[in-house]
């Protein structure tokens, strides 16, 4: 018990030190005590900025050949925080950025709204925790692969090189490696999925603040929180991806909305004044140059932060980064096309903001890091070629509407489309509003990428892209449902009342009740019945047995089909990402689009065959780990194999070389 408590304290201390304080101090240095960001926004953004700060500190260490260890991490982060605090103290006497009173009241809720927000947050935690309590233990294949490289970072005191594999991106490992180093916790504990759980919640909260900032309507923001946080709270890309260890998606779904939030904040202030409707624009212009300067200054700072977070995103997940690029490119083109009459004003303002010292410093600094100090593995021609081109498989030719219905939920899809249509209609009057256009582009482009990837010439699994649709469609659903049921008295006219207020309320209750029950029952069905962990601990025990009794001269092969949590076996050896060898899923050996080696199949399925004999010799394999319930008979028949370990779910055979 004492050990458990000690581990808990170490974990939370490391979590706050690594994932909160750096971003908090950075915001303090930039904004001081300004109210330009609400407390809640500062709290959420601090985590996103901390992730990017940590990445860049570790990249700097890598470039300077500084060992990544507990003291060096602590010193690096403390120096960063001290420098940020120094800047804050230095700037205390200078003019501070501040905002209108209306901005301050944006985060002031009525008692009912506050109660609703707290209830939604509670439900989100409750549902997700109920699901994760059944799936938290280290079992998932993807998480095992990622944790190998995180543990590699801990043991080798440097950023992983991935043996040249382009499938991994360093940002997926830095958080886990750093917290592993600082806390000393085992990678076989719950700490990796718990961190992902936290990031998942932060992603949901980011959607909340983004929606509130864009639409300036608290009820839309609360509805979006409900749609993304409570309804379908378990299905991909949420808690299922947390327990499954789909790290890139989880981090991407936090950093991408955060980047949109910061871009929206950067552009909302500079584009609002000259592009406002007649009358409003003149009123704002009368306020004088001072307020414009404040807006320009705020814009520069938010754009710098947006670019910083974008680099963090590009260092974290290639698919999210690619989707972000598509959405952002469309957003910019759409914005310019929608405001083509004001293009001169827009470009002159953008010029003033972009070609400013803070923005250029972050942009050029990020590019230098990206191309010269630490370049992600996916920046190479072969990786780009695999993602670009005509779809090479049926699974990459796009999702049907039926697929999308299953992926993000029928009602959320329907309401999302409805919200998209309403938003498009409202864009006639909101064409200058960067936030409105951002939500529209986010939803529309991801839908098109998933539905018709040929339009964009991309060759990626469509279901993986479709998973990104749930976040923008949650916002659009909230917007759609709000548009229908807002202020019914005004809509119907005081005297006409074709639908009385009570009838509208009743309709709202029925529709909303239907959506709510469907969304909650989806999560309830996804919660598995109590898992059996005997197989998992047997895998870990047998792996420890082999790790103690073998060395690098020994070759090991294990089976992926029938051994529980087998991708975690390599963490016991730490002798290479592809050690031990693995017999993959049988269907993979029949994949005509991607011919693969057959030795791993032969060595377990037919160990007595001639091909197999050659394979054993070539790979120097002398130990075989299989599930005796499925793969035992073929070894028992052969005299050269010794049955040296036996438990219900794992048998180990030794073949004397």
């Amino acid at each position: 018990m004492l050990n458990f408590l000690q581990n808990q304290i170490l974990f939370y201390a490391a979590l706050v030190f690594v994932l909160f304080l750096p971003g908090h101090f950075l915001l303090l240095a930039i904004f001081g005590k300004s109210k330009i960001l609400s407390q809640l926004e500062k709290f959420i953004i601090s985590f996103g900025l901390s992730i990017a700060v940590l990445d860049f500190i570790l990249f700097a260490y890598s470039g300077l050949k500084i060992s990544i260890s507990r003291p060096s991490i602590i010193i690096g982060l403390l120096l960063f925080m001290a420098a940020s605090f120094g800047i804050y103290r230095f700037r205390l006497r200078k003019n501070r950025l501040d905002y209108e009173e209306s901005e301050r009241t944006l985060f002031s809720f009525s008692r009912h709204q506050l109660a609703l927000i707290l209830l939604i947050i509670f439900l989100a935690f409750f549902i997700k925790t109920a699901f994760l309590s059944q799936t938290i233990s280290p079992n998932a294949t993807d998480l095992g692969h990622h944790m190998y490289w995180s543990k590699w970072m801990v043991e080798n005191h440097r950023l992983p090189d991935y043996d040249g594999l382009p499938d991994f991106i360093v940002g997926e490992q830095t958080i886990f490696g750093t917290i592993g180093i600082l806390s000393g916790l085992s990678f076989f504990s719950a700490f990796p999925p718990v961190i992902l759980h936290l990031v998942n919640i932060l992603g949901i909260l980011t959607v909340f603040i983004l929606t509130l900032r864009i639409f300036k309507k608290k009820n839309i923001a609360i509805l979006s929180l409900l749609f993304v946080g409570v309804l379908y709270a378990v299905t991909a890309p949420q808690s299922k991806f947390v327990s499954g260890g789909v790290i890139g998606n989880i981090l991407g779904n936090f950093l991408m909305p955060l980047a949109f939030y910061l871009y929206c904040r950067a552009f909302e202030s500079i584009f609002s004044t000259p592009l406002l409707p007649p009358g409003e624009g003149a009123r704002r212009a009368d306020e004088g140059a001072e307020s414009t300067n404040v807006e320009i200054s705020a814009s520069k700072i938010f754009l710098s932060l947006a670019i910083f977070v974008t680099f963090g995103l590009f260092y974290t997940h290639h698919l999210t980064a690619l989707i972000f690029l598509f959405v952002f490119a469309f957003l910019v083109l759409f914005f310019l096309a929608a405001n083509c009459k004001d293009i001169k004003i827009i470009l002159s303002k953008v010029w003033k903001v972009f070609f400013s010292p803070p923005v250029l410093a972050i942009f050029i600094g990020g590019l230098i890091f990206f191309f010269f100090i630490f370049t992600p593995n996916y920046i190479n021609p072969s990786a780009v070629n695999t993602a670009v081109g005509a779809p090479s498989k049926a699974s990459r030719e796009g999702l049907t509407i039926a697929n999308l219905r299953t992926s993000i939920g029928e009602d959320r899809l329907g309401l999302g489309f409805f919200g998209l249509a309403i938003l498009l209609f409202h864009l006639r009057k909101k064409r200058w509003d960067f936030g409105y256009l951002a939500v529209f582009s986010w939803g529309a482009i991801i839908f098109l990428l998933a539905f018709a990837p040929r339009l964009f010439f991309i060759n990626l699994p469509s279901d993986r892209i479709g998973n990104y649709l749930s976040y923008p469609f949650s916002i659009l659903s909230a917007y759609g449902i709000y548009a229908v049921f807002k202020n019914p008295a005004l809509k119907n006219g005081k005297n006409q009342k074709p639908f009385g207020n009570s009838l509208v309320r009743l309709a709202f209750m029925i529709i909303f009740g239907f959506i709510f029950i469907k969304g909650i029952s989806d999560s309830a069905e996804a919660i598995p019945i109590q898992n059996d962990y005997d197989g998992l601990v047997e895998t870990f025990r047998s792996s420890a047995y082999l790790a103690e009794r073998t060395n690098t001269d020994d070759g090991i092969i294990k089976d992926h089909n029938y051994i529980a949590g087998d991708s975690w076996i390599k963490l016991f050896f730490m002798r290479g990402y592809k050690y031990p060898l693995s017999r993959g899923y049988f269907k993979r050996y029949d994949d005509t689009t991607k011919p693969r080696e057959m030795c791993t199949l032969y060595m377990i399925s037919n160990p007595g065959g001639k091909d197999s004999e050659q394979c054993y010799s070539d790979t120097k394999t002398d130990f075989v780990m299989v599930n005796p319930r499925y793969d035992s008979v073929q070894f028992r028949k052969l005299n050269e194999f010794n049955q040296i370990y036996m438990s219900p779910e794992v048998a180990i055979y030794y073949k004397d070389k």
């Binding site: 407390q39 809640l40 985060f107 927000i117 309590s133 025990r541 005299n639 370990y645 438990s647 794992v650």
Partner: protein, 121 residues
């Protein structure tokens, strides 16, 4: 206390409770013994001709009977009481002299289930 402070504190409390609960659940799941029912038998030195083996018990059964075969012939048998969570090393090298056949087999039974390990010479 402002509304936002309330929301942030609420978030922190929920996160702490949720993650502590998940750590606790995981600690139980990851335990070799808690709620588990399995046992294993293995050679202590798999690569050489040592016959020493271990029985590792993570089940509720405690009485284990083991038999040693030289080819088809039983050459030794014994039993051991092994508590849950205990690993019992059984030193056979001192007990067994020359082996006549080309295979030595050890079978272990808990009364319900039998497992076997063997080495070919």
């Amino acid at each position: 206390m402002t509304q936002q402070t309330k929301i942030i504190i609420f978030l922190i409390i929920l996160l702490a409770v949720s993650s502590s609960y998940l750590f606790w659940v995981d600690a139980k799941n990851n335990s070799f013994d808690y709620g588990k029912d399995w046992w294993a038998v293995y050679f202590d030195e798999p690569k050489n001709l040592s016959w020493n083996f271990s029985i590792e018990n993570h089940s509720d059964k405690n009485n284990f009977k083991y038999e040693i075969f030289d080819g088809e012939n039983k050459i030794s048998e014994d039993s051991a009481i092994i508590a849950k969570g205990e690993v019992r090393k059984i030193n056979l090298d001192q007990k067994i002299g020359g082996i006549e056949s080309k295979k030595i087999t050890i079978t272990v039974s808990d009364g319900m289930e039998t497992k076997e390990i063997y080495k070919n010479l």
